[in-house]
């Protein structure tokens, strides 16, 4: 493959890279899609939600052929105490038609999505690691792979190599991520008969539900999830790497402790664990986004920290960033200019999109999850909230006014006093409202 030339090389066949390769191939440009796994998706996991809108912009009515699990019609949030649970949920039939989002499994989905890019004309180069970017002074002119004679040249390289982005790091567009900018998620796929899942989660046919979990998890700052697939459940937990370092708890033990929670254990009972997996999630948010383009290169998806942790959205941000990078590459090709001056249009397009706007809105959330506050938010407050509700609902002759006082005292003490409760409230409000 020596001296082979492409218009564009895309590194990484996840949702961002594949969206870019698909967009570029459809425009008739010569594009290579490089993936280090045996096939696209081989190395990829996520919590499990795929959204319609951003993928539909690329492939209309894709859901009629894509491998998807269940259409999510109900979303639940559970605040876990040690052996109690405060629950909120929202269900709406309108989420079914047109579908708003689905649960999914990435090995199937990413393979399907990449096959669409291949059909559009992208050249698949799988089982190949890009070891470095080839540069001509400042300009990126190609990639070096771990194949024999493995140098490939292109006018533009789109970097979509995922959260670890060794290529982004080599460009020095970002410093190494700090341990508080990433979370480690560990997940299990647990199989159960289809009917059992539907009965336990109050679902019919292809309806699905998601449960986000917050609270008691070996006292770690993290969020858990339990999603319904066709005949499996995806159960996982994400913990901030900085917290893992400090607490000296093994990540899979945090997951095991969730599995033992009385509200969770009855839902997964009798199931068979089919797969254990782990992956980093970029959760640094808005302030961690690196420069997005330079001479001969653009960067997309997880590699550019494009994850909205508050709404657990990621693949949709990845797809949109890949599409916008692809469109910028096409415009650059027509103009015959691959310098930063032209590729910076990708940056402008991101800024005009929901990707930039949503991440900006929640830019304060990251610091809210810092040590100290995270303990309150994930451990003490959930525990106190559950206790306060227990006391309010318990009919034991104590006057309601006294109960209300006790409930407020519980929450105040959990936050560390009146002022701290107020501060946490204001900080939380600001974090959520940009």
């Amino acid at each position: 493959m020596a001296d082979e030339r492409f218009d564009v090389i895309v590194v990484g066949a996840g949702p961002a890279g594949t969206a870019a390769a698909y967009t570029i191939a459809k425009a008739g440009l010569k594009v290579a899609l490089i993936e280090r796994g045996e096939f696209p998706g081989a190395k990829n996991i996520f919590g499990g939600v795929l959204y319609r809108k951003q993928l539909e912009d690329l492939i209309p009515e894709f859901w009629k052929e894509a491998p998807l699990e269940r259409t999510i019609i109900e979303q639940r949030l559970w605040v876990l105490g040690e052996d109690n649970t405060f629950q909120v949920a929202f269900r709406d039939g309108r989420f079914q038609d047109p579908p708003n989002c689905w649960t999914g499994l990435r090995v199937k989905f990413d393979q399907w999505f990449a096959s669409k890019a291949e059909q559009a004309g992208a050249v698949p180069i799988y089982e190949t690691v890009v070891t470095e970017l080839l540069r001509d002074v400042h300009r990126v002119v190609g990639v070096r792979t771990d194949r024999v004679d493995g140098d490939l040249y292109a006018n533009i390289v789109i970097i979509a190599d995922g959260v670890n982005s060794l290529l982004g790091k080599s460009l020095m567009v970002h410093r190494e991520w700090n341990p508080d900018q990433v979370s480690l998620a560990v997940k299990e796929v647990i199989s159960l008969p289809k009917q059992t899942i539907q009965d336990r989660f109050n679902l019919e046919d292809n309806e699905g539900c998601t449960i986000e979990l917050i609270g008691q998890m070996s006292k770690m700052a993290g969020l858990g999830f339990l999603y319904t697939n066709k005949d499996t459940l995806s159960l996982g937990v994400g913990v901030m790497v900085s917290d893992l370092q400090k607490k000296r708890v093994k990540p899979y033990e945090v997951l095991d402790s969730i599995k033992r929670h009385p509200m969770i254990s009855r839902l997964i009972q009798g199931g068979e664990v089919k797969e254990y997996s782990g992956h980093l999630i970029p959760e640094g948010g808005f302030d961690s986004i690196p420069p997005l383009a330079g001479d001969g290169w653009m960067i997309c998806g997880d590699a550019a920290q494009m994850v909205n942790a508050v709404h657990r959205e990621g693949t949709n941000l990845a797809v949109t960033s890949g599409r916008l990078a692809g469109e910028t590459a096409i415009a650059a090709h027509l103009r015959g200019d691959f310098s930063f001056g032209t590729l910076d249009d990708y940056n402008t397009a991101i800024r005009a999109s929901f990707v930039h706007k949503d991440l900006k809105k929640y830019r304060g959330v990251h610091s809210l999850l810092g040590f100290g506050d995270s303990e309150k938010l994930f451990d003490k407050l959930p525990e106190s909230l559950n206790e306060a509700i227990y006391q309010m609902l318990l009919v034991d002759g104590v006057p309601k006014k006294d109960k209300q006082k006790m409930a407020m005292r519980l929450l105040r003490d959990a936050a560390g006093g009146n002022l701290d409760l107020l501060r946490l409230g204001i900080k939380g409000w600001r974090a959520m409202n940009g």
Binding site: Q245, K259, E272
Partner: protein, 94 residues
């Protein structure tokens, strides 16, 4: 339904390279490391302190390629690259 980590990892298909993609840069750094955090934060128990041999052992065949150790080793003493193309883990569900 709780399993040991060995049982969990057994569910993943591995194609191990004959060479490790993970390298301890300097074993003396591990010897002087008091916290040995890598013995805890790795989701696949790749790192273990061998008290007799005074080395951190690296079971790279178990690595699930998440990158946690790359960021979390307090001394940045772990050299981390991807396994060779087509090697390492292959998930069945994802």
């Amino acid at each position: 339904m709780s399993q040991s980590i060995e049982e969990k990892l057994y569910l993943i298909r591995y194609k191990a390279d004959d060479q490790s993609h993970l390298t301890i840069r300097n074993q003396d750094v591990c010897l002087n490391c008091t916290s040995k955090e890598c013995n805890f934060f790795c989701p696949a128990d790749v790192y273990e302190w061998d008290a007799e041999g005074h080395v951190t052992t690296v079971a790279y065949e178990n690595c699930i390629e998440c990158g946690t150790c790359r960021l979390a080793c307090p001394a940045s003493n772990i050299e981390w690259v991807y396994p060779k193309g087509g090697h390492g883990i292959t998930y069945r569900f994802g």
